[in-house]
Amino acid sequence: MTITQIKQNKKGLALDGNVYLPRIMVIDRIIEETPNVRTIHFHFKDTKLNKEFTFDSGQFAELSIFGVGEATFCISSSPTRKDHLECGINRVGLVTNALHRLGVGAEIGFRGPYGNHFPLDLMQDKNLVFIGGGIGLAPLRSLIWNVLDSRNKYAKIDIIYGARSVSDLCFKYDLDTWESDKTLNTVITVDKGDGKWTGKQGFVSEVLQDVAPSCSNTIAVVCGPPVMIRSTFPVLENLGFTPDQVITTLEKRMKCGIGKCGRCNIGNLYVCRDGPVFTYSQIREFISDEY
């Protein structure tokens, strides 16, 4: 298998030809995932757009709070489930803190979808290994639900997910569902468990080594903090995965989301425009190590 470049982006909505003009979204549900992460569910205020809007797993959007600013979030819900969109919000900065203060019924701005997406077409009939860490499960769960909604198109599926502590595990309701799904092998780990934790302990890369999924006819998708991504690549290589069989999604500070404002580049590539989804073989060819 060779994925030279992952392309075919679904383009963002351009209202009146103005791609920067946000659409109004209304928050209709909030789930507190961890003390610092919440998931917001939202829909277009202009209800006919809820049916028209399409995106692919892996794409991102610019969410804004009017008067506070815009920030970049991957869409964490699956495009197969159309009644609303979801984003996981880690409370770290100006906009994310403000998003944590909002309640149901609040209006936010939305631009997108932007960027490329996970290559679902190339994943068909293959074994899939999903490897996630912390809030990195957000883009991954869009893909996982997308795959599970057409389960028979794919072969064996492993999900390996970890967080720093039990209270940092995100999307616990999904984890419960996947653990009880007999068509999947779901392994959950925390760096250090509390007294009650009966699951695995240790870094995701270590648990991956133990699970040791076969590389034959397999694609691995890795999403998490950079330190987890960097430590996972060598383990996958040890397991026999070629760089073409490993896919990840990168995160950078972004403003425009469409390859113009300049800041998210790694060498000549813009993460917003040429990514955020890259194969490990693409990453190895990057001019710069600034990822």
């Binding site: 030809g17 946000p22 009017f66 815009e70 425009c256 390859g259």
Partner: protein
């Protein structure tokens, strides 16, 4: 190419004619800093003092600060408005280096998505070039494939031949402008020859040179040489003035402001010189100064050529002239080692 001319003393009348239908933008000393500003319908003294503006003409399309949307919180939710800016404008006196810069950044703002704000101003603007007859010591456009007296990036090109300007028509838009005035005259063979001499003299005046041969490969082979980049970046104070004044630097930031129930989303120039430019909550890919300086040099001379097949430096010399610590991009380029890959095989 069709060539015409106009007497210098008729320039004011010509600009007045255009100023009725267009906003005529000319070099002006605003607060002591020369920039392209709406003409006052009178003063043409810039023809005497003007060498080049401090603020590059990119600011006519990408202002230092501009409102993208304004919004108002109402009982029924947010109401959003977009400022409309469809007025036609003429930029008179743009130099060939800066006109080339516009051609270069046009590509960025039309890539995949049209940038609404840039594009709406750009498509309503005609560029009227003025041959450079008095370049600065820091100018090196001839090393950047720009001719100080010729341009294909403008609609009309003016060349000073003494008491008159010879005018070259490069586009139908430029031709239509000339048709608006009865002060435009035919040229004689002597005028054309005189213009040729003046142009040749302009090129002669450009003394500063930099060898950009193999620059992309040279940068590629020293990209990871941290010691080299730390030396190159040593005296930089990360003030960002080179990026703000560079005619091809286009990076911007987007921010909101709101007072009570009224607010606006602005965009303003940003700079890869600033640590905050790439800063994320947990990490910063260009925290170190040498990485930021490397980014600036490599964006112009390596990433741009890879993506768009052109060096994004037009040799205008602003970043040299106005740098507070005399950092000189031409010295940096000249000091780079040869492309290793060309010799290794």
């Amino acid at each position: 190419m069709i060539t015409k001319k106009i007497n210098k003393k008729d320039i004011r009348k010509l600009l007045m004619t255009w100023n009725q239908e267009f906003s005529v933008i000319v070099p002006t000393r605003e607060r002591g800093v020369a920039e392209m500003v709406r003409w006052d319908n009178n003063d043409i003294s810039f023809l005497d003092w003007y060498r080049n503006t401090v603020i590059a003409p990119k600011a006519c399309f990408l202002p230092q600060s501009e409102v993208m949307i304004s919004f108002q919180k109402k009982e029924t939710g947010y109401k959003i408005e977009v400022p409309r800016d469809e007025h036609k404008q003429i930029i008179f006196g743009i130099r060939p280096c800066d006109a080339r810069a516009i051609t270069i950044i046009d590509q960025v703002f039309a890539d995949i998505y049209d940038d609404y704000y840039y594009a709406s101003k750009r498509r309503n603007t005609l560029l009227l070039g003025l041959s450079c007859s008095n370049p600065y010591d820091s100018c090196f456009c001839t090393s950047s494939n720009v001719n100080p007296a010729e341009s294909e990036d403008v609609d009309l090109m003016f060349t000073d031949i003494g008491d008159e300007y010879v005018i070259e028509e490069l586009t139908s838009g430029g031709k239509a402008l000339l048709n608006m005035s009865n002060m435009i005259k035919k040229v004689t063979k002597a005028d054309v020859n005189r213009a040729k001499e003046m142009k040749a003299a302009s090129v002669e005046k450009l003394k500063k040179r930099v060898d950009t041969k193999d620059i992309e490969g040279r940068l590629r082979s020293c990209f990871n040489d941290r010691d080299l980049w730390e030396r190159v970046a040593a005296k930089c104070i990360s003030c960002g003035i080179c990026t703000f004044l560079c005619p091809t630097c286009f990076c911007f930031d987007i921010n909101d402001e709101m007072i009570h129930k009224h607010g606006a989303r602005y965009r303003g120039w940003d700079s890869c010189s600033f640590r905050s430019y790439t800063k994320m909550p947990m990490e910063n890919p260009r925290e170190e100064k040498w990485r930021r300086v490397r980014q600036r040099v490599c964006h112009k001379f390596e990433f741009y050529p890879i993506n768009l097949g052109i060096n994004a430096c037009t040799g205008c010399g602003r970043c040299i002239r106005l740098c507070p610590v005399n950092w000189d991009i031409t010295q940096v380029i000249s000091s780079l080692p040869a492309d290793i890959s060309m010799h290794s095989s």
